[in-house]
Symmetry: C2
Subunit: 447 residues, 2 copies
Amino acid sequence: MSKEIGITAKRAENFSDWYVQVVIKAGLADYAATKGFIVLRPYGYAIWERIQKFIDHNLKKSGHQNAYFPVLIPESLLSKEAEHFAGFVPEVFWVTQAGNNPIGERLATRPTSETIAYASFGKWIRSWRDLPLLLNFWNSVLRAEIKATRPFIRTSEFLWQEGHTVHATEEEADAEVMMIAQLYRRLMEDILAIPVEIGYKSDKEKFVGALYTISLEAMMPDGKALQMGTSHNLGQNFSKPFEIRFLGKDGQEHYAWQASWGISWRLIGATVMIHGDDEVFTSLTAQKMRVYVDSREQYTPGWKFNEWEMKGVPIRIEIGPRDIEKGQLTVVRRDTAEKSFIKIDNTAPEIKKLLVQIQKNLSEKAKGLLASKTKTANSYGELKNYVEADAGFVKAPWCGKKECEEQVKEETGADIRLIPLEGEKPAPRCMVCGENAIHMVYFARAY
Amino acid sequence: MSKEIGITAKRAENFSDWYVQVVIKAGLADYAATKGFIVLRPYGYAIWERIQKFIDHNLKKSGHQNAYFPVLIPESLLSKEAEHFAGFVPEVFWVTQAGNNPIGERLATRPTSETIAYASFGKWIRSWRDLPLLLNFWNSVLRAEIKATRPFIRTSEFLWQEGHTVHATEEEADAEVMMIAQLYRRLMEDILAIPVEIGYKSDKEKFVGALYTISLEAMMPDGKALQMGTSHNLGQNFSKPFEIRFLGKDGQEHYAWQASWGISWRLIGATVMIHGDDEVFTSLTAQKMRVYVDSREQYTPGWKFNEWEMKGVPIRIEIGPRDIEKGQLTVVRRDTAEKSFIKIDNTAPEIKKLLVQIQKNLSEKAKGLLASKTKTANSYGELKNYVEADAGFVKAPWCGKKECEEQVKEETGADIRLIPLEGEKPAPRCMVCGENAIHMVYFARAY
């Protein structure tokens, strides 16, 4: 393989360069002509389609339906929930002209669809008979990024799905939030082979406008956490300004309870970061085996081997004249480079078995990474040392006060990534202020 | 059914009101909180998903791949092909601010993706080995509409697919354009049961920047034509400004040949207009039978019958105690209101047969409509009379000159909708100027 098309950066030496090279050179994505935006190329789009298929299928099975809402949102609507607006406004793109004319009210390109959707929900929902409303949107959202673009991880537009549900009671909203978090976990762990930690966000880090946020967080090989997906209980924070009310069975008017949740194409980025050294991500998302026969005569076998290796195809099958003579195929695993021979008659079950082994191998390796990057700090000094030394997740006792959280962030760069759903009993004292600790939380620097 | 939820407008009396009522009250779409935009609701989205499934499956079978490009396009890029820019600029939404700051160069919300995509194509294509490039995008496009919103037909944003392909020769681009037009025809006639006429657009009406455009046009019950889909040969009009060049087998650099093509959610609108009286559009797009069991106890059978009738479900199955006794089901067709009984043992094949009959019935009716709304004019006076009298398509001989085309438009409101692919021999004289006629073309007023 020539230097130009190969991957020249080493993962262990320059993780960031290596990541971008894999994404670009494997043909998953490319920088777009619009600054801060990327193009999702066919090879990357195929992975996105597998993610879509799993989520869409399971959402429909649990009674959710798809819908589409406008990409442009009037400013007056976006600002209806004050905290939400303040949270998003620094990164909103504004449309101010149509054709050659100024428009009356600025229109925001959708940073998320709570406001535009809930204006309609308020019209549609009248009675308990209309609940629950379980909707999902496959679309893109825009958030102006001023920092350097990183494909899939930091881009001014990204593909995602956003779910928006309306319930009669707080308990039903709670159950929805948790059900979705568990669906996301299955996608991440069982399909993408990326182990995640699940827990609550601190008040400082939760979604702007939510009662609480459940987050799924993965640990990357460079020691930084990556937020993989979130599921929010919005309480009645939006139903009140948007007047989403229903006539209950009790004959009284009630404000509804709401949830919203989403995952984005950053899962493709996470998959590259975690499995990119083995580059076998196409196998991860395949429910059926996909076979591509490279019959191009203009390329040599060596050239083809290199190309598919870079693309991360999990299994390469070679058939030469001697193989045919012997009634066998030569099979090369991408993750271990092992070569073996299988009888032609037995191809399908053997390949299937091999794919299961590869998936298991990746999953085990990723679990090992997570374990090796998770530590427990018994003091603030220890936490600082671990974070400085690129330790990944550091579990530490916390009192629940924002001031302590902010001090850690300021002095170490680490956030509270999550408060575990079922946390272990914390050490008795907050490692920052020494007061009573109430949670054992996960700190980390993050993407 | 109460007046509020029923459809009060009559199709024959006020087609426009009737159409909007069916769309809104059947729950296909709703007006959005953003002026000029609509919400695609779950029942409408399900129809869009069936359209997507048919097109996506067939595009993949013929070697096309999906990709995603940014929704924001820098002005300098959009204006690179002058005619194209002039054509779209009156209806472009412009982003001029990000957060609280003005941005350097205005960004257009995508009116179509030729320019943003071809900037990347120019980078990716180097040699004949990279051709053909066959891409498709599922996204939405924005075109500021100043006229009154009409769901699916005239909205400032619409869902569509846009295909963009690059070829080594003009002949290959020609073949692609035609292949896609025929795929679209299959979707419209075989799946949606809407007969269409296929032909070339006149130079005045073709896509801005194209060499030529093939259009598929259907005739609506109110005598107006509806453009259902288009497929363009772009020639080298974009490959030159965007420098899409390749090294040919001959060792020389060549500019590539390109095609683009698309269909949108207006097909849902067309289906409502054509079949909405029978309202059985859910059957049209179903590849498998979909069954919904309405087990809601809070509604009476009569209420449920009315609701599903309005939603246009093609077959209603009733099971009462007497049916169970007799081992039968009561089956009611939506299109003819015929009631029949089938043996429970024989349900699946009988229902399947019935669905085929319904589909055939709809198709026949729609063909009858098209035939009754197509006339031939032997003089300009006749054409005028037919158009005034709401005649639908009027075939007439034309010399090919833009002046004659414009005169007809000005005096009657009718455009040339298409020049048939294999037209009949025209009458000898242009019906406007009396010079040699070269085509027998289809005139109509249109949406």
